[in-house]
């Protein structure tokens, strides 16, 4: 099961198209609906999503929904209560290969737009750890505005603080610290001075998806980075990446 989320910040509007079909062409039956999950009184409150939809898509906008809400596809009877203590893996509707994706788009009024095919796999919501992502690959020195949308979804309905750092991986030095929250769309403003080849984002304790946004003269670029283990296809990938993250953690934070 995958979860979905909206982007958006100030004048940047977010739009999310979630398909009512799997990419191999299996269309969902009418009793399969989109549900909005939000944290209320330390529970996940689950409600049917009242959004624009047709035969093929659910269409959501950051004008109508909070960017902190998450969205899941299931039948009503797959959840026993509308208040959950934790996120559940309810079905395989969005567990497909190639991955089941929604289109996550940002738009500036009277200007450009950019999107990527997006999902937040259930396997990620149980994980603690750290992400390591290069800053200078998708952001742009020329841009008027460089942001990172950092989305974390954690299975427990917690709003807990954690840190993301801008670090230099050669000098093992911290340049900047952001205080972020779990189960939230965190917005990181990245100043041009940090756009250097050895500068990376490093999160401590919680993982998430870093989505890089740049805007110049109304043209937008939006894309996510790969987790480092995706560059290695042999069986040593997690061990190799784990070793690098451990070295960074020990040299910088201990």
């Amino acid at each position: 099961m995958n979860f979905f989320f909206l982007l958006g910040h100030n004048e940047i509007k977010g739009f999310l198209n979630i398909p009512k079909f799997q990419n191999r062409g299996n269309f969902f039956k009418k009793n399969i609906k989109l549900y909005e999950y939000k944290i209320v009184n330390k529970n996940w409150q689950v409600e049917e999503c009242k959004c624009k939809h047709d035969k093929f898509f659910w269409e959501l906008s950051s004008d109508d929904f909070s960017t902190d809400s998450i969205f899941g596809i299931h039948k009503e009877n797959e959840i026993k209560s509308k208040n959950l203590r934790e996120l559940k893996n309810l079905n395989n509707l969005s567990s497909t290969y190639p991955d089941f994706r929604g289109n996550n788009k940002v738009l500036l009024d009277g200007a450009g737009f950019s999107s990527y095919q997006s999902d937040y796999p259930y396997e990620m919501v149980y994980k603690n750890g750290s992400i390591l992502s290069p800053l200078n690959i998708l952001l742009n020195n020329k841009a008027n505005n460089n942001l990172v949308f950092f989305r974390n979804i954690f299975y427990l309905p917690l709003k807990e603080n954690f840190e993301i750092y801008i670090i230099n991986i050669k000098k093992f030095k911290i340049f900047k610290k952001f205080i972020c929250k779990t189960n939230k769309l965190n917005i990181l403003n990245i100043e041009n001075q940090y756009l250097k080849n050895d500068n990376y984002l490093f999160s401590n304790k919680y993982i998430g998806i870093p989505i890089f946004y740049s805007e110049f003269n109304k043209q937008i670029s939006l894309e996510h980075t790969h987790p480092p283990h995706e560059y290695i296809l042999s069986n040593d990938r997690f061990k190799t990446v784990g070793k690098i993250k451990k070295e960074i953690y020990e040299k910088i934070f201990k």
């Binding site: 990419n23 290069p134 690959i137 790969h226 560059y231």
Partner: protein, 270 residues
């Protein structure tokens, strides 16, 4: 007293492990492809050497586009080994038009691909990146430089997309060439519905590359096309089309998509 729940759980765990072992068997995988039962679309090579796999990246110098390519020195980043990067450019008919090498690599490297760089060619095609090193490691390693490709017009800022299909490969310290990571079904066509709504765009272009060494035939919303080995095509879709379905015996035919609205464009993988 026997804990029945625990017994049931152990039984299920054993069955899952047993089934998994057989599902992952190479002959079972081939049968799954033939009979179209949950076929695995992409399969790595089980060979006795380290190799570097490249996606089919797309360069564009047509219609005023410029391309920028950004890649990491992944052998150094992950294994602390020195390597060089070799990039081969092909036209849309898979004819090699240029090769370049980066002997000295930075952590992040950048290459501008414009008409001047490609000897005034105003078209589109593919390019591939491989890492080379004298380094030998046991057990073997497989690297995939997924990289990021940006597209821009005039003095604008690039709009980026990452690589999305493993296509060609060379041994890390040999000239051995490997391909056909993407599987083809001998009998059955598969649908691939792109999970986006294309209705609102002025225009949509699908950049499709044949990831295999054999000719492929495919349909986009019932319109028939064919592509020779490793060839690519940009196929324009009409306005007001909501869904796009790619039907093919090639099990992983994911396009890079350009959407246009007013004077702006967006690029992403499908």
């Amino acid at each position: 007293m026997i804990d029945l729940k625990l017994l049931e759980k152990s039984k299920k765990k054993f069955m899952r492990k047993f089934l998994n072992k057989y599902i992952q068997n190479k002959y079972v995988k081939k049968i799954r492809v033939i009979i179209n039962y949950k076929p695995k679309p992409v399969e790595l090579k089980n060979i006795n050497e380290s190799y570097s796999v490249s996606d089919a990246f797309i360069w564009r110098t047509d219609k005023g586009f410029n391309t920028i390519f950004k890649f990491k020195d992944i052998p150094n980043f992950f294994y602390n080994i020195n390597s060089s990067a070799h990039i081969s450019f092909f036209n849309k008919e898979n004819i090699n038009i240029k090769n370049i090498s980066f002997k000295e690599l930075s952590n992040i490297n950048e290459l501008q691909i414009n008409q001047k760089f490609l000897n005034n060619i105003k078209d589109y095609g593919t390019f591939y990146i491989y890492h080379k090193s004298n380094f030998k490691k046991n057990p073997n390693i497989i690297l995939s430089n997924r990289c990021y490709v940006g597209y821009y017009k005039n003095n604008q800022m690039p709009c980026y997309v990452h690589g999305n299909t493993l296509v060609k490969s060379f041994g890390l310290n040999s000239e051995n060439f490997y391909s056909n990571f993407v599987q083809k079904s001998p009998l059955f066509e598969q649908n691939y519905f792109i999970q986006n709504n294309f209705f609102y765009f002025d225009k949509t272009e699908l950049c499709i590359c044949n990831p295999t060494s054999e000719k492929i035939i495919f349909k986009i919303n019932s319109q028939k096309y064919e592509l020779m080995p490793w060839n690519m095509k940009i196929i324009e879709q009409k306005k007001n089309v909501k869904l796009i379905n790619i039907k093919s015996k090639c099990l992983f035919l994911r396009p890079i998509i350009f959407n246009y609205k007013n004077e702006f464009f967006d690029v992403y993988h499908g």
